[in-house]
Each structure stands twice: as structure tokens, then as C-alpha cells.
Symmetry: C2
Subunit: 191 residues, 2 copies
């Protein structure tokens, strides 16, 4: 059965959310999953495979949350607002996890997954930027670059608060303002 595989992954997710990547030792994950160290190797070829899949699981949850949030609202601006609010809001609610996803040092294998993570978000943004340009709401621009830049911008702004402790309550609104301005959206051009 593969319920165990899922259970082990869930244990790893918990540890990641509690203690970050360092907390995800094979023995730690095994213990949390309620099995012995060696048991993990029945389901994963090694740490690399476990961790890669761990990241994939967590990332797809985040991407799904963001896409769903965006799907709800209508015009471009409210979509972007929804994306940033969801992304940032979730990050601030699960700081340890967000930090692990965005910035925490990990080994090379995982780093690849992290790049994938960021690229996925960037792709979501790219889609909307292109749509905005077609609709004439946004100025001409390199959509992929803008998207990557926005992902970086949001991540960077969040990492400070995440690494420290608390965040200014204005962080999210300010971030939204920045995003809209950076896109060149025709409302909210100032303030």
C-alpha cells in the first residue's frame, strides 16, 4: 500500500513546518511517522527522493491555493490582489514552512525543487501579465521577467519578517500596492 508513503510524507511536512529543513532527518521523519529509521527506505530510495517529493507536495498545495484564490475574482487587479494576499497571508501564517520553501539553506537536490517552486509561481503570474497586456490594461513588457521579478519581490519582503518574528500589519497592503504599480496597472498608480 502507498498509504504509508503518504503518511511518511505527511510526517515530513509536519517536521518541515515545525523545525524547517534541519528537522527533516531520516530518523526524525521515521520517528514522527511512528516507524523505525530503516523503514523509510522501504518507501523511498533515499533522502533525496523523500525531500524532493516533500517539496513537490508542499509546493503544489501552495500553488493550488493561489490559483484558486485568483480564480474567484473578476478583473485583473483583483486577481493580482488575491494572489499576493493569499501567498503572503499563508506565508505569514506558517512562517517556518514558508521560510523553508523560500529561503532556507538546503542541499543541492532540494535547491532544484525550490527553483521549480518559484518558476511555477512565476508561470502563474506570467499568464495574467500576458492577459493584461492583451486587454490593454498593462503596458508592454517582458511578461516572464516581470513575473519572476514579482515572485522575487514578494519573497524577499516576506523573508525579513519570517526570519525575524512578526510582520508589520501593513506589509500585505503595501505589497499589493507595490505589485500593482510594478505591473504598470492603470489604477493605484500612486498612494
Amino acid at each position: 500500500m502507498d498509504a504509508q508513503r503518504a503518511a511518511i510524507l505527511e510526517a515530513a511536512v509536519e517536521l518541515l513546518a515545525e523545525h524547517g529543513y534541519v528537522g527533516c532527518s531520516m530518523s526524525g521523519v521515521a520517528a514522527r511517522a511512528g516507524i523505525a529509521t530503516g523503514g523509510v527506505y522501504r518507501h523511498f530510495s533515499g533522502k533525496a527522493e523523500l525531500v524532493a517529493e516533500l517539496f513537490r507536495v508542499v509546493v503544489s498545495r501552495e500553488v493550488a491555493a493561489v490559483e484558486q484564490a485568483a480564480a474567484g475574482s473578476g478583473d485583473l487587479t483583483s486577481r493580482i490582489v488575491a494572489v499576493v494576499e493569499t501567498f503572503a497571508g499563508r506565508a505569514l501564517k506558517a512562517p517556518r514552512l514558508a521560510y523553508a520553501l523560500l529561503a532556507e539553506p538546503v542541499d543541492a537536490v532540494v535547491e532544484q525543487e525550490r527553483l521549480v517552486f518559484r518558476r511555477k509561481f512565476a508561470e502563474v503570474f506570467t499568464k495574467w501579465v500576458e492577459e493584461g497586456m492583451r486587454a490593454g490594461v498593462l503596458p508592454r513588457q517582458d511578461a516572464a521577467l516581470t513575473a519572476a521579478a514579482l515572485v522575487g519581490a514578494v519573497a524577499e519582503v516576506l523573508v525579513g519578517p519570517l526570519a525575524a518574528g512578526s510582520a508589520d500589519p501593513d506589509t500585505i497592503p503595501s505589497l499589493v500596492t507595490f505589485t500593482v504599480r510594478a505591473l504598470g496597472g492603470n489604477d493605484a498608480r500612486n498612494a
Copy 2:
């Protein structure tokens, strides 16, 4: 004498630029500096101290380059252009080093230094954003947040090319355009 300390650091810088953080093992650095492993411990209490100082050295060079580039030009826009061009240009010329500075996984001690690095750049930006607001060239905004966001944006856009191989030659101009627009600068609002 402390010429040796400097020589060891320089060896570490070389290794960092060639092979990234992973290349900076104590024995590797010692070998490159032309001394035996143990010798390094005459000058540094341990790896943590060595690496922290290594980062400080490299970072201060980068910050100095950027500040100098900005000091040359006159109006706000050209300063910003200079900053982004310098920062990105240097990064693309020394990709391994830039990657190590911006994104490569490292241990906790170094991570602190990395945050310092990014904060320093953000501070440089903050100064100019505030100046721009005073001069009425830029709209009201949370200067520190904008600055952090821009550092993140530039870093993120660069990490892709750095991790892969080559960069689109339009990367830097596009980045400059993005930056100006994100600041809300009154020229270059589109295109």
C-alpha cells in the same frame, strides 16, 4: 602578521567564485592558500568565523561597486539605472560568486551574513527612494518595503540565468525598465 589572514581569505574568495560554497572546505581553502589544513586554525577560530568574514569581504566589495556607480550620475533615474546595471552586470560576469551570494544553500551562520548582504543593498535603495519622494519624483510609498522588493526582484531575475547558463542580453535593460516602473518614476512609465 595578518597578511596570512588576508591571504587565506583571498583563497576562500577564489574558491567561492570558482566552485561556490561547497568548494570552501577548510582543507580546500588551506590547500589553495598553500598551507596545511591545521594552519588555517592559527588565523580563524573555525569555519564559522572564516566564512562569515569571507562573506563580509565579498559583500563589501559589491556594495562599494554599486555605491560608486551610483555616485557618478546625477538625477535619480540615472542613479537607479546605474545601480541595477552595476549589480546585475557584475553578477552575470561572476555567476558562481553571485549565485553563492544570492541563493546558494549554506549553513545557518552564513545565512545571517546573507541577510545582512541583502539588507545593505536594500538600505542603499531606501535612501534613494526617500530622496525621490522628497523631490516629488516618486509617489508616496513605504521606502523600505520598495527597496527590499527591488532587491528581491533583481536577485530573482538573475538567479534563473545564473543557475542555468547564459542570460538573454535584454535582461539588464528589461530589469531597469521594471525597476523604474515599480518605483513609480514619472518617465519610462511604459515600454
